[in-house]
């Protein structure tokens, strides 16, 4: 990672201030704006899409190439556990455990 600390601190500050402004906008403007439900739905979808992309890129890729077998398999196991309504902790530990065991057997 070769990001300048200054740029990092400024980015954190802008994200924090911007997020506070978003939170504050609703109660401050309540009587003056109406927020169409379609826009709310699209914002929710956009969040899910961004996070899904992060799941796939951080789960499958490492430095622009495929990340081996253990990590994607672990993520898949965790996802299946969550899909079949296993408790959150079980799904998450299942993912890490799967990857750890596969690596124990020498898989990348």
């Amino acid at each position: 990672m070769t990001v300048s600390p200054m740029l990092l601190v400024v980015s954190i500050a802008v994200l924090a201030v911007g997020t506070f402004a978003f939170r504050f906008a609703g109660p401050a403007l309540r009587s003056r704006i109406t927020f169409p439900p379609q826009v709310t739905k699209l914002l929710e979808t956009a969040s899910v899409v961004l996070l899904a992309a992060l799941v796939v890129t951080s789960g499958l890729m490492e430095d622009g190439v495929l990340a081996g077998v253990a990590r994607p398999t672990g993520v898949l196991v965790g996802g299946l556990l969550a899909w079949y309504k296993a408790p959150f902790a079980v799904a998450v530990v299942g993912a890490a455990g799967t990857a750890a065991v596969l690596r124990l057997f020498g898989l990348p």
Binding site: S11, Q38, E44, A53, M61, G64, V92, A95
Partner: protein, 227 residues
């Protein structure tokens, strides 16, 4: 004030505790991942306390950690947090007055809004929102610090499978939303676009390219609005 805290009965307290445990687990993974990606220990903790919105912090840390620019990370984080505008419209009466309002506004997130909306009476809405919000405000940075410490003490976190934990946490968090077919198709298309773009674009941008997948949801959202 005392009356309101007394409304935090056993059932509500259990709900708040369960949310805090889950948030703590997510925070451990978030802190460990951030440190493993090369960030200093303070970063996930300070980011956690100041932004207090997990999704945007994952994107921020994930994008910069993968070598992306802080500007891309900032844009993704702000976009994800724009959903707090409609949140604020749905819980205006629990935020408090005066100086407390500043803190009340900061505590607004997925969990506190859901907890507040789920309550019937105004007093319980208040108690659920503040109980859950203050719990998260303490647990989130603390667990991020604990995760970061684990990440910096354990020499090889990959051997513990911690690198698989982070995407799995994200996946478990978005799964309920993915049961909606339109959202699912948007997410799948977006994720495939991001994967396809990874070899060609600078780090960090592929995640933003995924946003093209949202276009698939536009007709459905229009339909929902018309109905």
């Amino acid at each position: 004030m005392r009356g309101v805290w007394r409304t935090l009965d056993r059932r509500l307290l259990t709900d708040v505790a369960l949310v805090c445990v889950a948030v703590g687990l997510i925070g451990l993974s978030y802190g460990a991942t951030a440190v493993a990606a090369g960030f200093p220990l303070w970063l996930p903790v300070v980011l956690g306390a100041l932004v207090l919105a997990a999704g945007s912090e994952f994107l921020f840390v994930g994008i910069i950690g993968a070598g992306g620019s802080p500007v891309a990370a900032l844009l993704a984080g702000l976009l994800v947090n724009a959903r707090h505008i409609p949140y604020g419209l749905s819980v205006p009466d629990v935020l408090g007055r005066g100086w407390r309002r500043v803190l009340g506004v900061h505590l607004m997130n997925d969990e506190t809004v859901v907890m507040a909306i789920a309550q019937e009476e105004q007093e319980r809405k208040w108690a659920a929102y503040w109980g859950c919000g203050l719990g998260i405000l303490v647990i989130w940075p603390l667990s991020a610090a604990a995760g970061g410490l684990i990440g910096s003490v354990v020499p090889n976190t990959d051997a513990l499978g911690l690198d698989a934990m982070f995407p799995a946490v994200l996946l478990a968090l978005i799964l309920p939303a993915l049961r909606d077919r339109t959202t699912l198709s948007s997410a799948v298309v977006g994720a495939l676009l991001a994967l396809a773009a990874t070899p060609f674009l600078p780090p960090g941008l592929p995640v933003l390219v995924a946003l093209a997948g949202v276009l698939l949801s536009v007709p459905a959202a229009r339909g929902a609005g018309a109905a």
